[in-house]
């Protein structure tokens, strides 16, 4: 591995697919993979304190360098001791670079070969972020894993634009790598290329030559059908080195996680457990529960029997009441439950991998969600 402060170890490779059980050692601890990172865009998983987050089984979190650079500023974070101390999270942190914001804030963004220019969503001032600057921001923040700046485009899109963005992402990855200085920070590349299998493969091969510490698949889960995403993973993952972690950015639904693990992905992040939790949707082994539903009015059961999360010390009736009464505690508790659900799902997947029964686990788990969904609820 390029950076000796990190070590990625494949503990078991699945006999029926590309899935693997692995461990990623970082300066702030070991991450058991496949792993899910809750999203702490602005330095907090929304509604969840760092200590409660630890209780969900989370080992690593994602924060966003773009957002933190705008507010409070990476210099402020550095002045009070870096991102770990700032957030009160002593485990590994991965920071995204701002590439995703080129897509999500497209109407506020201009791209040149040198850099992206963002018009601040806070005060309107324009800020240029180059590949070098993206690395410098993340070095100031002091995350364990930095992401190169990439050029993310919407899908579907004009083939020429998708190609141009993928080629630029490769050039920017090289510039980011050449700018990186911190020995205690890993740098991951990001494969772009839309739904074009050949372009994805080319991009993966180009990035592999840069000998980065890990590789992400980016630019997916931007509205395309799941089947397109799975097909793109089938084309991309084999072109990535087996001895580096593989990270699927911004994904996704529970079934997406299992399908992507099957296709060789080791790491995920997604706002879904927290965002859906804030909107009264709880993930369970029998599929999602929509807590506002009248049928939960007098339901004394927890969301899920056996779940150790703080929400499951309460009844569904109470959780429903909190949402109808617009009490903050509803979003707080359902966010905790959903993150716990994702972490328990990944822990069960790791266990199944260690016992070489992941294929069956994946089928049965997905069938459990689907069977319940087919019943009248």
């Amino acid at each position: 591995m390029a950076n000796s402060s990190f070590r990625f170890t494949v503990l078991h490779a699945d006999s029926q697919g590309r899935a693997r059980r692995s461990a990623f050692a970082t300066p702030h601890g070991i991450v058991d993979m496949p792993a899910f990172m809750p999203v702490a865009t602005q330095g907090t998983v929304k509604g969840v304190d760092a200590r409660s987050l630890r209780g969900t089984g989370t080992q690593m979190v994602l924060a966003n360098a773009y957002h933190l650079a705008f507010r409070p500023g990476e210099d402020v974070v550095a002045a009070v001791g870096g991102l770990h101390r700032f957030m009160g999270w002593d485990g590994p942190i991965l920071t995204d670079s701002g590439g995703f914001q080129i897509f999500s804030l497209a109407e506020r963004t201009r791209i040149t070969e040198d850099h992206a220019v963002f018009r601040s969503h806070i005060d309107g001032r324009e800020v240029a972020i180059s590949p070098e600057r993206a690395v410098a921001i993340q070095e100031s923040l002091g995350s364990d894993v930095a992401m190169v700046l990439d050029h993310v485009v919407a899908l579907p899109n004009e083939p020429g634009l998708v190609r141009e963005a993928a080629e630029r992402s490769v050039r920017w990855a090289r510039r980011g790598r050449d700018a990186a200085r911190r020995a205690d920070q890993a740098l991951f590349g990001i494969v772009q290329g839309g739904l074009d299998a050949a372009l994805r493969q080319w991009c993966a091969e180009q990035l592999t030559r840069l000998d980065l510490d890990g590789y992400a698949v980016g630019g997916l889960s931007v509205g395309e059908p799941p089947a397109d995403m799975y097909r793109t993973l089938d084309a991309t993952v084999p072109a990535l080195p087996a001895d580096r972690p593989r990270y699927l950015m911004g994904v996704g639904r529970p079934e997406d996680l299992l399908e992507a693990v099957h296709r060789g992905i080791d790491l995920f992040d997604c706002v879904m457990p927290t965002r859906n939790g804030r909107n009264a949707l709880a993930f369970t082994g029998e599929g999602p529960l929509r807590l506002r539903n009248l049928k939960f009015e007098r339901d004394a059961r927890p969301l899920e029997a056996g779940c150790p999360c703080p929400a499951c010390r309460h009844s569904r009736a109470y959780l429903r009441h909190l949402f109808l009464a617009r009490e903050m505690l509803g979003p707080i508790l359902l966010s905790l439950h959903n993150v716990t659900y994702y972490q328990r799902l990944l822990a069960a997947a790791r266990q199944a991998l260690a016992e070489d029964r992941f294929g069956l686990f994946r089928q049965e788990t997905i069938a459990g969600w689907t069977a319940a969904a087919a019943e009248p609820r």
Copy 2:
């Protein structure tokens, strides 16, 4: 005491005032008094889970029968096992009756001798709450302490109206007492009478004859100057029986608590620690901190050295960032800090009382807040 499931014991009476260190035994545990109850109007202290609430040092909480009767309905609460199980709080709970809403929701309320009629703030339907119905609701909820329905009016007000409301409150208290059936629920009376010392004394004497389990001073902290409140306590408390807990409703600022303890009050509730916490104001031994202030931008210190609360595991800089970024975690953490601050203040007051140095404690604590406020901050 009228109800044998409860026991109020004065452990020490202050030699320099009416303050006392006492203990109130309820079916759900003992409350060390003087005590502060955080407010869980709709069955949750806003943003704070029951387990975290226990960590603040809280022994007893207040919920609101009026609000819970409208949503989710006291029958729903009863159906899932009563208010303790509903909230996930196994300590004592006091419920207010709805009398305060006659004042706070005055434009939605009509009063007759028989009952108050409320037009629902949720769906506009009209609901009559009589003194008997107020007790029945609280018996369905299953709180440890129920409050009689009282008639609260704004201050200042026409003397005739203040007198009429106080007299009605006495008649309603008798009807509430005669309706009460639960052996495991105490019933407290509420002294009304505005700022009229003679009327307060009359009301206290009338209620004392009803042999209730405790006595509240109500209708204060509705906008009158603190000196008027203290004067009213000086007139009222001596007319209440020494062997029952005395509860000052809806109060208040830290200095109000110490002044009222000095005047013989044993129990308080107030939204101030949580409401101010949601608005980025933190209580400390050196007076309040307004976290949005620029001077905290790079302040690596906790809100208060030695405070064991979850907020004080973070820097002021981080807490400020959470508020500027409009993150839920800001209100959550400051609510926890402020409730912890109030509980530590009351614990220190109890300790000072036990050591018969409450007078000095009160002076020095208030001086600490004032001295810091006089300095440039």
